[in-house]
């Protein structure tokens, strides 16, 4: 019985295919990347969220103009709940742009309004290096010629105006939005600028969004090794950085769900090899540094850095491990962190008892299953009722997920960490690992858990 049906799913038996209890003897993966069961209280978002919210939003020096009714722009303003920081806070995440489509615009079309909006936004913020235009649901239906308008506006204002056809109803989750963002940025931006100079040690970091400053911890490790980070995709990125990404010698891919597309395209067109990495926890970070060093022939330097960094954090991590030993965690993330973090938790003495993703594909589940023990519940696109059942029935000591699930966990008295936008991060690489462990300690041992009372039944 590898596939199983949770109690809360009795009346929606199609959920059984998404619910797998891992057994080593089998070669089974939960069904993934398909349409959500309608009305099942999914935690998924839309294609616009994947494109604008996740991949493009972190780009710090373009006007992100949302073409549609007002809500879609409002939700992603300032990154929404995402903490994709940049060093341009006077502009990036501070301003929110929308065409604010009204009923008449829906009836008669919004092309004029969009054209004027692009020109006006550019006039107010002439220092912005481009305008990215995002189509939302209604736009796809009324058939505005986004590409045509953007082309006209680009000719008029003389900076790049890039349309993203990322209507929310496309696809089955945020995932298609990542793909659309990758394809569009590759077609319209990558390769449009040449770097001032090249070195033999130019590398791109692809698929890191600088959540609470992750990249500001990641980048220096490679720079100390002698590597130049030519471009980051897209945390703290200037659109010009992405434009020159095609000249790198290597693409280091961190988020392997939202960016494999652009890595593949760059490999095909520019011959840039891809190295996949996990930059969470001591072992995985050290492995990433060694892999990159081996590619560039910088092994000695890497070993020096690893030794220095590990010696700084290892004793403290060991202390934490002794405190956490035997605890059990339920990991529910967008996709890759569900498997990135299995090993990181293991370094802290915490075993994963259930792992789920919102928009994972088969390869994400394969990676989860490679890493977790037999008997672990592996779940695709869980809904709110399933999450509640798992938290009650499997009684994890810790739940790591996103904001929407945070208060479910709290209301059930289960310690929780926000793995999407972090609590007190950054969580990446060595120093971030200490933040992560410290936050786990707070979550597990805060005295308030002991004060909760039960109703007499």
């Amino acid at each position: 019985m590898p596939l199983t049906l949770l109690k809360s799913d009795k009346t929606i038996p199609e959920r059984e295919k998404h619910t797998y209890i891992k057994a080593a003897s089998e070669n089974i993966l939960p069904l993934s990347n398909v349409q959500t069961t309608p009305g099942d209280f999914t935690e998924r978002g839309c294609t616009y969220a994947g494109c604008m919210g996740v991949v493009c939003g972190p780009i710090k020096d373009v006007i992100h103009l949302v073409h549609g009714p007002i809500g879609c722009a409002y939700w992603t303003w300032g990154g929404g709940t995402r903490q994709n920081l940049s060093d341009n806070p006077g502009f990036h995440r501070k301003y929110c742009f929308s065409t604010d489509m009204q009923e008449d615009d829906i009836i008669f079309g919004g092309e004029d309004k969009l054209y004027k909006s692009i020109l006006e936004a550019h006039k107010e913020f002439p220092e912005a290096k481009g305008v990215f235009v995002y189509a939302t649901c209604a736009i796809g239906l009324i058939g505005d010629d986004l590409n045509g308008v953007c082309k006209r506006a680009e000719q008029k204002i003389g900076i790049r105006v890039v349309p993203f056809n990322c209507e929310g109803f496309r696809g089955c989750s945020q995932s298609l939005g990542h793909h659309i963002a990758n394809d569009t940025l590759f077609e319209r931006v990558v390769g449009t600028k040449e770097p001032e100079y090249l070195t033999d040690f130019d590398m791109n970091i692809i698929g890191d969004y600088n959540i609470q400053g992750d990249l500001w911890k990641i980048k220096p490790l490679f720079e100390r090794m002698g590597i130049r980070i030519l471009s980051t995709f897209t945390g703290n990125a200037s659109v010009d950085d992405i434009a020159q990404a095609h000249r790198a010698k290597l693409n280091l891919m961190h988020c392997q769900r939202s960016t494999p597309y652009i890595c593949k395209l760059m490999e095909e067109k520019y011959g840039i090899p891809v190295l996949r990495a996990s930059l969470f926890g001591i072992k995985q970070t050290s492995k990433a540094l060694r892999d990159v060093a081996a590619f560039f022939g910088l092994e000695d330097k890497a070993e020096e850095i690893i030794e220095e960094e590990v010696s700084k954090v290892a004793p403290k991590i060991e202390e934490y491990r002794r405190k956490f030993e035997g605890k059990r965690v339920f990991i529910y993330q967008g996709a890759p962190r569900a498997w990135h973090w299995v090993n990181m938790f293991r370094e802290l003495g915490i075993e994963t008892i259930a792992a789920a993703t919102t928009f994972g594909h088969e390869e994400d589940y394969a990676k989860i299953c490679e890493r977790v023990n037999d008997g672990v519940l592996v779940l695709d696109n869980p809904n709110s009722l399933e999450l509640e059942e798992i938290l009650i029935e499997l009684k994890p000591d810790l739940f790591i997920s996103g904001l929407k699930e945070k208060y479910l966990s709290y209301k059930l008295g289960v310690p929780f960490i926000n793995g999407h936008s972090y609590e007190n991060g950054p969580y990446a690489v060595y120093s971030g690992f200490l933040n992560f462990a410290r936050d786990i300690e707070k979550a597990l041992f805060t005295p308030v858990w002991g004060l909760i009372r039960r109703n007499r039944e």
Binding site: T36, F41, I70, G71, I106, S117, L385, I452, R454, N455
Partner: protein, 429 residues
């Protein structure tokens, strides 16, 4: 640029989130968004951030197929699944720009579906019309229109209907406490005071306790009167109740001394109750608090941004504190707001549904001392170096604002202190 096409830093959200707000105040109700998944996921996070509470919203997950062939199949499956798995008392079907543009006949689908066990109410909230305020108004109107039932006996009961609008649980509590002290029976349409400020006691109930029950909404037809606290968010439901059942109707946003006086007068007129001494004392405490701080408040110049009714009531209250409202800005454009704003004060700049980029321009050019607004106004307060009072929805860069009310005399004390402390902190900066 006064007549921009582009909106920069929007002042408002779209209709569906307002409808969710209203449904969260109904006991064991499920909001079902008929649209894309983002239209449920994004607003949920806004509630999480403001209230620090679990909210559960279902979505019909319309995809490309549905956008071509219509969303009927998804809608019916959604309702069936929700009833089977959660047995709610009520499902509110909330439309979006997607389902409205496709043209799904949700009223027909719901009627034909003939769903048993749960009431299913269609709520039309196209995102390209109005704002979150309109969405709340439409949801309340849909609930009342679809559910209210006159009882057979022709004598009205002596209950009073209160439609709070998009206010905080703390505000609803203030209203309830005033009515309780007058021994008045009432129905709050709808009551978020417990559902969005829920206790942590195990085991977690399937739905939060509290909220207005479906039977209470049905019975609202038999009340002696209705008062909407925010005319733009609940006024349509009040107008329906007045028209359909002939009950007395009034609209007053009880922020500040005079507004609360008027609210209580109206309550007394409708119910025949009298104002108890305990409320006179509360009023006295508010006056006392205002006297204590008038040397700090008098002469200050305020910019007020909020939903229309709250912005107007706040303007009236700051005038009582000797503060001059130099900018009154409504999240949502409305002719009524414009007229009323002109009658509240004749020398201020009125922004009627303009974006916050425009608000910032106005703050820059009006020598403002103190700004009232939600979290989206925080950068304006910092950039322009003015005192800042957080109010409205959403407030998520500080905690706890949902817990405390600014309505009524007691809420007025809290607001007075907040205003004064904001001024003191600003002066000490």
């Amino acid at each position: 640029m006064r007549n921009r096409s582009v909106t920069i830093n929007p002042a408002r959200m779209c209709q569906p989130i307002g409808a969710m707000y209203a449904l969260f105040g109904v006991h064991a109700a499920v909001p079902l968004v008929h649209g894309s998944q983002g239209c449920a996921a994004y607003p949920m996070r806004m509630f999480n951030r403001h209230f620090g509470e679990l909210v559960q919203v279902a979505v019909s997950s319309l995809g490309e197929d549905a956008s071509v062939f219509g969303g009927k199949k998804n809608l019916i499956a959604s309702i069936d699944n929700i009833i089977a798995r959660r047995h709610p008392e009520l499902i509110g079907v909330i439309t979006t720009c997607l389902s409205e543009t496709i043209g799904d006949d949700i009223d027909g689908i719901i009627r034909e579906g003939n769903f048993k066990d749960s009431k299913v109410v269609p709520i039309h909230t196209p995102s390209y019309v109005g704002s979150h305020v309109t969405g709340y108004d439409n949801a309340l109107k849909a609930l009342v229109t679809n559910l209210s039932e006159e009882s057979d006996s022709d004598n009205a009961n002596d209950r009073l209907n209160i439609i709070p609008g998009m206010v905080n649980p703390g505000d609803v509590l203030e209203i309830k406490q005033m009515l309780d002290s007058m021994s008045i029976a009432y129905t709050i349409l709808s009551d978020i005071s417990e559902t969005l400020n829920a206790p942590l006691i195990l085991p977690k109930p399937p739905f939060p306790s509290g909220g207005t029950s479906v039977s209470e909404i049905e019975d609202c037809a038999n009340a002696c009167g209705v008062i909407s606290l925010c005319e733009h968010a609940g006024g349509s439901a009040a107008a329906f109740l007045k028209r359909e059942y002939g009950m007395a109707s009034d609209t007053i946003c009880p922020i500040g001394v005079s507004n609360t006086d008027r609210f209580l007068d109206s309550v007394c007129n409708m119910t025949g109750a009298e104002i108890p001494y305990s409320l006179e004392q509360e009023r006295g405490r508010l006056i006392d608090a205002m006297v204590d701080v008038h040397m700090k408040t008098c002469g200050k110049r305020a910019a007020i941004f909020a939903d229309p009714d709250i912005a107007l009531a706040l303007a009236e209250f700051v005038i009582e504190l000797g503060i001059e409202p130099v900018i009154v800005s409504s999240s949502t454009a409305s002719r009524k707001f414009l007229q009323k704003a002109k009658s509240v004060t004749d020398c201020c700049e009125i922004l009627n549904g303009r974006d916050l980029y425009e608000l910032q321009r106005a703050v820059k050019s009006n020598e403002v001392d103190i700004l009232f607004g939600n979290t989206k106004c925080t950068p304006i307060a910092k950039d322009e170096d003015v005192a800042f009072v957080r109010c409205g929805f959403p407030v998520y860069d500080r905690v706890g604002y949902h817990r405390y009310g600014i309505m009524g005399y007691h809420g007025g004390v809290y607001l007075t202190d907040m205003i004064t402390n904001a001024i003191l902190e600003w002066e000490e900066r």
